[in-house]
């Protein structure tokens, strides 16, 4: 009872925040609504006893991805008028995707009502069950290849992104830390021996 009340409270905030992402006029507000959305979904996952996934969602999406997002959005001058003109152009595509998702959701709910349960939904876990350990045990044994391939793809993406931004510009001033550290006094200072001046 208490749990379902909590669920509905969080779900309502989640939906409110998600619509805030779409409807708010200011892009920075949109990003903040998106952060709230992620947080709420993390809370819902926590309620489903998926604590590892919930915390990783906050860690990765809220802590890293959205910070960079906010970074970019704050730096960009977003032209609201141009975005509005785009709205009518992309509307059919958007409506199509939305319809597809609604159909999928309805199908899922319909299947559930027929008594078909694919996975054990929010099943209570046994005492002493460690979500993180369970996930690790599967990830590094059964799915180790998929895991490693994903890692390699990510590495590839990093290298690709870095190579795209690497361009040699002539006349650029770069600090060579090793050279700076290796400098000794005699490289910079010349001691000149000279006779004392004569008394006038």
């Amino acid at each position: 009872m208490f749990q379902s009340v909590l669920f509905y409270v969080f779900a309502i905030v989640l939906l409110g925040a998600a619509s805030g992402v779409v409807f708010s006029r200011n892009p920075v507000h949109s990003v903040m609504f998106l952060v709230l959305t992620f947080f709420q979904s993390a809370v819902l996952w926590l309620m489903a006893e998926a604590e590892f996934l919930a915390i990783v969602l906050v860690l990765v999406y809220v802590g890293a991805v959205m910070v960079l997002f906010l970074f970019v959005v704050m730096m960009l001058e977003v032209n609201i008028e141009a975005a509005k003109r785009g709205l009518t152009r992309y509307a059919p595509l958007g409506i199509g995707v939305a319809l597809l998702m609604v159909i999928e959701l309805v199908q899922l709910i319909w299947l559930r009502s027929q008594g078909v349960t694919g996975t054990s939904g929010f099943a209570a876990t046994p005492e002493g069950y460690n979500n993180t350990k369970a996930l690790g045990a599967v990830l590094y044994t059964e799915h180790v290849y998929a895991f490693e391939i994903a890692a390699v793809i990510l590495l590839l993406a990093i290298i690709a992104a870095i190579t795209l931004t690497m361009r040699k510009r002539p006349g650029i001033k770069v600090q060579d830390i090793a050279a700076q550290v290796a400098v000794r006094a005699k490289d910079r200072v010349r001691i000149v021996k000279m006779d004392a001046e004569k008394k006038q």
Partner: protein, 373 residues
């Protein structure tokens, strides 16, 4: 009840306990947890208040000055005078600012700093929430703290504030990675994400501390922690010589006080976390030494041998002192040097040491000697 307690007091206590145990279980749980949270919160805020005083005293003595000495005996009333001053000052909200975000930003930086205390074990039984993914929770919440700074910088609608926010965000994101990698080493050594288990893995005297097998990771974690809290020598986010006061340039009164509180709460947090991850948390360094074992029955001296909150507090104070020490001695880093240190020095060091740790675990040396597998 002990003899020196009058009869009617012990009757009251018995009556109170009887009432407490007659309550439903969830009410009992709620009461106990609320008191635990209150105790930790008040303790953290008091530590913050007095660490501002000690910071000024420590830096003062390093610069051959006296430091605050006017309010109360030895100037100990200074933090309260400062707080009262800040509380009665006017909060000015710039007219061109984004008002809601401007007001909420200080809170967003304070709440993660306080909420992280939920998983921190203060001794072998005092922890508000004993969760299995505690270390991840700590990482997640410390990474959320940056929003307060970014939003403060943006909502102020000032170029100085925006620059400060940008610097701070890039810096925190960069050092978080090194911090996370350093913690990977800790969790490899302890075999658990639970902070209580991490401390338990280091009990049995200081030779068991992760400080020694994971020394490079300790250094990386500690310096990254200083960078994460935007403290000197990494305080470019508020570098007053270039961008006035950075992200909190337009904040005054209570709003500024909250930023201040958040910064110091973060310092206390990082100090405590470093103590937990590398210095055995609440465990005593003199445990497990046979010739000291008889001491544990003597009232005060026994505390040296037995672990507890006092050891965590002592270790935390040690790291807080180094925060002040850094501030008094090091010049501020240049921004590109900060980035270089984070990305090109710390991250490779952590990756190399994780590999070394893997080899150590394979050959069963150091903390892995007991694995026996």
């Amino acid at each position: 009840m002990a003899d020196f307690v009058p009869q009617f007091v012990s009757n009251w206590i018995d009556w109170g306990l009887a009432v407490f145990y007659s309550l439903p279980e969830w009410v009992q749980y709620l009461t106990v947890t609320t008191w635990k949270i209150l105790f930790v919160l008040i303790a953290v805020i008091l530590i913050v208040a007095f660490s501002t005083y000690f910071e000024r005293k420590v830096i003062g003595s390093m610069q051959a000055r006296v430091g605050p000495n006017r309010v109360g005996p030895l100037g100990l009333g200074q933090p309260f005078a400062d707080v009262i001053k800040l509380l009665i000052k006017e909060v000015v909200v710039p007219s061109q600012s984004s008002r809601f975000l401007f007001v909420i930003a200080p809170l967003l930086s304070l709440i993660p700093a306080l909420a992280t205390w939920a998983v921190i074990p203060l001794n072998d039984w005092y922890v508000i929430a004993d969760i299995n993914a505690g270390l991840l929770y700590v990482l997640a919440l410390t990474s959320v703290g940056v929003y307060g700074i970014i939003l403060a910088g943006w909502s102020t609608n000032s170029k100085y504030a925006l620059l400060g926010a940008m610097r701070s965000a890039a810096q925190i994101v960069a050092y978080e990675i090194a911090m996370g990698f350093a913690l990977v080493g800790v969790l490899m050594a302890s075999g658990s994400l639970n902070l209580g288990d991490i401390v338990m893995a280091q009990t049995g005297g200081f030779s068991q501390w992760f400080l020694f097998p994971l020394f490079p990771l300790f250094v990386v974690y500690w310096i990254s922690g200083v960078a994460e809290t935007n403290r000197a020598p990494f305080d470019v986010a508020e570098g007053e010589s270039e961008i006035v006061a950075g992200f909190h340039v337009e904040y005054s009164g209570v709003a500024f006080a909250i930023f201040f509180l958040a910064e110091y709460a973060n310092m206390v947090l990082i100090s405590t976390l470093t103590a937990i991850f590398f210095l055995g948390g609440w465990a005593s360094p003199f445990e497990g030494l046979a010739f000291l074992a008889p001491l544990s029955d003597i009232p005060i001296i026994g505390l040296l041998v037995t672990g507890g909150l006092h050891w965590l507090f002592f270790k935390m104070c040690m790291f807080m002192y180094t925060f002040f020490w850094f501030r008094a001695t090091f010049p501020r880093y240049r921004y590109d040097q900060i980035m270089r240190l984070g990305w090109k020095v710390f991250i490779p060091v952590t990756i190399v040491w994780i590999t070394v740790e893997g080899a150590m675990a394979w050959f069963q040396v150091g903390p892995w000697s007991g694995l026996g597998a």
